[in-house]
Amino acid sequence: MSNTAPILEVRDLVTAFDTDAGRMTAVDGIRFDVPRGKTFGIVGESGCGKSVTAFSITRLLPQPHGKILGGSIHFEGRDLASLPIEEMQRVRGNDISMIFQEPMTALNPVQTVGRQLAEAILLHTECSTADVLARSIDMMQKVRIPAPVQRLNEYPHQLSGGMRQRVMIAMALINKPKLLIADEPTTALDVTVQAQILELIADLQQEMGMSVILITHDLGVIAQVCDEVAVMYAGRIIERAGVFELFAQPRHAYTQGLLESIPRIDSMPKTQLKAIPGNVPGIADFKPGCRFGERSGRAHSAEHLNTRPPFVEISANHWVENCPICVA
């Protein structure tokens, strides 16, 4: 395998949940490549399936409800979608790490921060207690937690929201993964720490050639750090391109709407913001055809609403769900 091959290739991934009301598809046939050593961004409105995509790749879907129903996830020559769970555990932590959106769901409330970091280290390497401590302190400093020695003895509830998030980032990075999946890694952080963490991730990327999937709803962050971007909507990727191309020439009406709803620093205070009307449909209401149809504000024939537009490469490395009405 050459070194320019993508580190991750996702093809036609379908993920569903079994609920009381029946089986519901949350991720509905998506495809993308994560270029090696690069940062691949995923944006999209709340509930569009970004986290479920991340949990599918790491095989951390809630059990027994969550299931990968189809498609493949190729990572370094192996299909993660069908890997036995014990092997997957080895991949996680050694090769692939994840930063979770809600720190409290990922941290153990009854164990100290130090203990949790130590466990993450010892799961994958053997080293002395002194080494474990030194590495833990070093990592806590890297994620800019002040007074790291003191903090190692504390429990998650004693930390501020942003500190919890940084502890989790430390846990994800401590084993120097090849692929980091960061689900809203900086949502709970103020802009200054956010900038520092993004820089830390970029440094590690340089240092060890780490590839990153960055999930965020912050188009500012996407614009500043990503190389390529996928825009998700209602369980599907509706557009995907290099970051410069996407911001300069968004082709899908949904991408255009997203870019327009960013509150600007020069807008009039306390005035209504531009917003895409309506909401992402819940997974129970996903239709087989185009799911943006009703919100797009454009006239539609039933045929348009009932057929899923094909995902095509409209120009070099610029993919879009190509509907004749929406795509300009």
């Binding site: 609920t19 769901t105 800019r144 501020s160 802009v191 720490v193 970051v243 509150p263 600007r264 205070p269």
Partner: protein, 322 residues
């Protein structure tokens, strides 16, 4: 008269150590904060992670027992009010929590969660409450069918909206919004911000609006306070603060805003130095200490209470900053 007046508020936590877990030091999370908030007004609160924003919010809704200072709500001193005296007050002061996972009981359905405030306050009959729950869900853009589901069945942003629905259920006078939209994408974010603005206009609500998105704070606030290591270092009308920041920390914050345009990537002036710890705060101006500001020593021993340098524009005085 202002709705809320906070004077010299301090909230310290004991730091335990040693075998006996004795209190060996204290973490000065909020260390002398004063401000007031008028009816229908929004005060934005920004500042670095760990600087004490959530703690300040929790002290005001009295989830904590303040160490010193005072909190007056509608003229009444609630700093040390007992749970019983607080109960009728709770209706008027609500909080939207930063981490929805922390505040939504995972074993309760959305209906239970939204009905609870009415039940606690003994308001309404079961059919009325059912109707109100449906209205609340509609207000925050969730389907009526959501009410039978559990919090874990929702996405992060959807859970945040459940928290907002609960906070507005009793039509409070004051809501502490702790990062209410940071888990939301831009589109739902603008919907929620528009919703908060509508509620304010219709019900005369006041907000203490905590957020790290400076563009969002500017959009929502009448005045903005900048907090650093447990203290407010600058407070001014929103537009004034953004056009004319005076404190070095405020300037650094404004500089770090990520711009949604890949062609404007910049070599940011990242804040260097160790983030100070509220456990052993440095003397004098904490930010100057961190930045190794050449004139920092002049701030040691100086009276750093806020001074008004222009109408409504307060800043921590220091020879080098102002």
């Amino acid at each position: 008269m202002s709705l809320l007046t906070v004077q010299n508020l301090q909230q310290h936590f004991p730091v335990r150590g040693g075998l006996l877990r004795r209190s060996v030091a204290s973490c000065k999370a909020v260390d002398g904060v004063s401000f007031s908030l008028g009816e229908g007004e929004t005060l934005g609160l920004v500042g670095e992670s760990g600087c004490g924003k959530t703690t300040l919010g929790k002290a005001i809704v009295r989830l904590l027992n303040p160490t010193a200072g005072s909190i007056h709500f509608e003229g009444q001193d609630i700093t040390h009010a007992s749970m019983r005296t607080l109960r009728p007050m709770r209706r008027h002061i609500q909080m939207i929590f930063q981490d929805p996972a922390e505040s939504l009981n995972p074993r309760h359905t959305v209906r239970d969660i939204l009905e609870e405030p009415f039940i606690v306050q003994k308001i309404g009959t079961p059919p009325e409450r059912k109707k109100w729950v449906a209205e609340l869900l509609d207000k925050v853009g969730l389907s009526a069918a959501s009410s039978d589901r559990f919090p874990f069945e929702f996405s992060g942003g959807q859970r945040q909206r459940i928290g907002i629905a609960r906070a507005i259920a009793l039509k409070p006078k004051l809501i502490i919004c702790d990062e209410p939209v940071s888990a939301l994408d831009v589109s739902v974010q603008s919907q929620v911000l528009n919703l908060l603005l509508d509620l304010q206009r219709d019900m005369g609500l006041s907000y203490l609006f905590i957020a790290h998105g400076l563009n969002v704070v500017k959009h929502m606030s009448d005045r903005v306070a900048v907090m650093y290591l447990g203290k407010i270092v600058e407070l001014a009308p929103a537009t004034e603060l953004y056009q004319n920041p005076r404190h070095a920390y405020t300037k650094a914050l404004l500089d770090a805003i990520p711009i949604a345009d890949p062609t404007q990537r910049r070599e940011r002036q990242l804040l260097r130095g160790d983030v100070p710890s509220p456990i052993n705060p440095p003397p004098g101006c904490a930010f100057g200490h961190r930045m190794k500001h050449p004139k920092w020593e002049q701030s040691v021993g100086m009276d750093l209470t806020l001074k008004e340098i222009a109408p409504g524009h307060f800043v921590q005085p220091c020879p080098c900053c102002t």
